[in-house]
Subunit: 294 residues, 2 copies
Amino acid sequence: MKIIECVPNFSEGRNIENINKILDAIKGIEGIKVLDYEHDKDHNRTVVTFIGTPENIAEAAFRGCKKASELIDLNVHKGEHPRMGATDVIPFIPVSDVSMKEGVSIAEKLGERIWKELKIPIYLYEEAAKTPERKNLANVRKGEFEWLKENIEKRPPDFGDKIHPTAGATAVGAREFLIAFNVNLGTNDLSIAKKIAKAVRFKSGGLRYVKALGFEIKERGIVQVSMNLTNYKKTPVHKVFEMIKSEANRYGVSIIESEVIGLAPMDSLIDVADFYLKLENFKKEQIFERRIWE
Amino acid sequence: MKIIECVPNFSEGRNIENINKILDAIKGIEGIKVLDYEHDKDHNRTVVTFIGTPENIAEAAFRGCKKASELIDLNVHKGEHPRMGATDVIPFIPVSDVSMKEGVSIAEKLGERIWKELKIPIYLYEEAAKTPERKNLANVRKGEFEWLKENIEKRPPDFGDKIHPTAGATAVGAREFLIAFNVNLGTNDLSIAKKIAKAVRFKSGGLRYVKALGFEIKERGIVQVSMNLTNYKKTPVHKVFEMIKSEANRYGVSIIESEVIGLAPMDSLIDVADFYLKLENFKKEQIFERRIWE
């Protein structure tokens, strides 16, 4: 069963009536399931998480984007979170039986359509980016709406050439599912958690798709390596876990436990079982439940 | 999502027309999905695997049983596989969000109904058995149709008291999902595989829900511990794997790989990941795909 997730961010976190109108526009598409939405007053921003198929996901995102462009005026918008558009970002996340290539293609087509029909210029980011620099959303959004309004010719959009006077610009992209994964260590020495975080994270020479920080969990007298795994297919959970185990061992520290915060795709954990059991030729089709959804 | 599996065995493996009539009777119930069926001429037997919900699964089993009783006459049936009824066995296997208690209750109600409406006597077996002896199907079916026809009063059914003149008797039960799991060892010494099989299997003092044998894989020059895990919830896959690892280590032999033959429930492998990652407080609801089916 093909499933793709979409997590658009809208620049409205206060006016509940308008938030509901945007949600209704998304829910109006048959087969779309809204899993979650969170709005934040300080950020003045709403994050919607919904799933669908490659056939209906872009239509739902378009409807949400269109509705937001009718309701939100960036010229009067204030909030703590950086933003450049009424619909600020639209990432697509392939979840099940959908390739990243397909995710990128959906992002590209939607970007083109938004410019054509709504006259909102589009920047493609993350896996959909046309240049390495634009992979990073922070580069695309630098200066926010206020800067872009005056300087869009200095940062030519991938679709369109003029800023939308009220809806600004939108970043559309594709990325892998992000897993929040923490490992708790049997020590109260924060420096060890920090050293291990440094050893495993990409930024400091570690694994390609790991972001990591060391924290103290004071009430338990232990420390934690807190991570975002940004591509569990290429840097699987067990690889991260084994590296932390090896680093912790170097300091004579044990792993007490690990935890997954929020959701994790089934495959990310099946891959762990596959690794430790040395499963040969195991196919995802052998998962009983998959036979049911198909 | 509640899912229960049913794997009835019918005493017909040669007459394709009749097999199809039985299949059609099962498929006729809305929401039932036939995953697989296999018929064997030598055994003269057909095994159907279908899934449904606690609401519709028994109705589909009943329809199949009724149709088989109209088409099959045990008095003229011959085949290598032991059997006592037109519908020989009907096991229910709770798969997802269904308890064994619920599975047993479904088996009991179906058994009662089959006797009432079709006059086929019923033996409850495995988890549904009323006595320890009847847990084992072999005890229930000993002597087959031919013996039961003359001696049913010596083995009183759980429902009914007379043999059905053509459809015989049926065993209805509930059991856990069975996982076929093999572990390949880095040696050509069959005696080591046999010793390890003996160490892990229940029969010889090993793990409660493990059946195991040692085999040679001649073409690869290695040996295998071939197993049936009859209750992965109580004897999880990693417990079996770790015990084999420890036993193999005792003989200085390494584990090359393991393999799952056929289907395995998602949870059986998630539990493995949970064990090796020491996942604390991980809930099955955190599996992304579960959010979709619900």
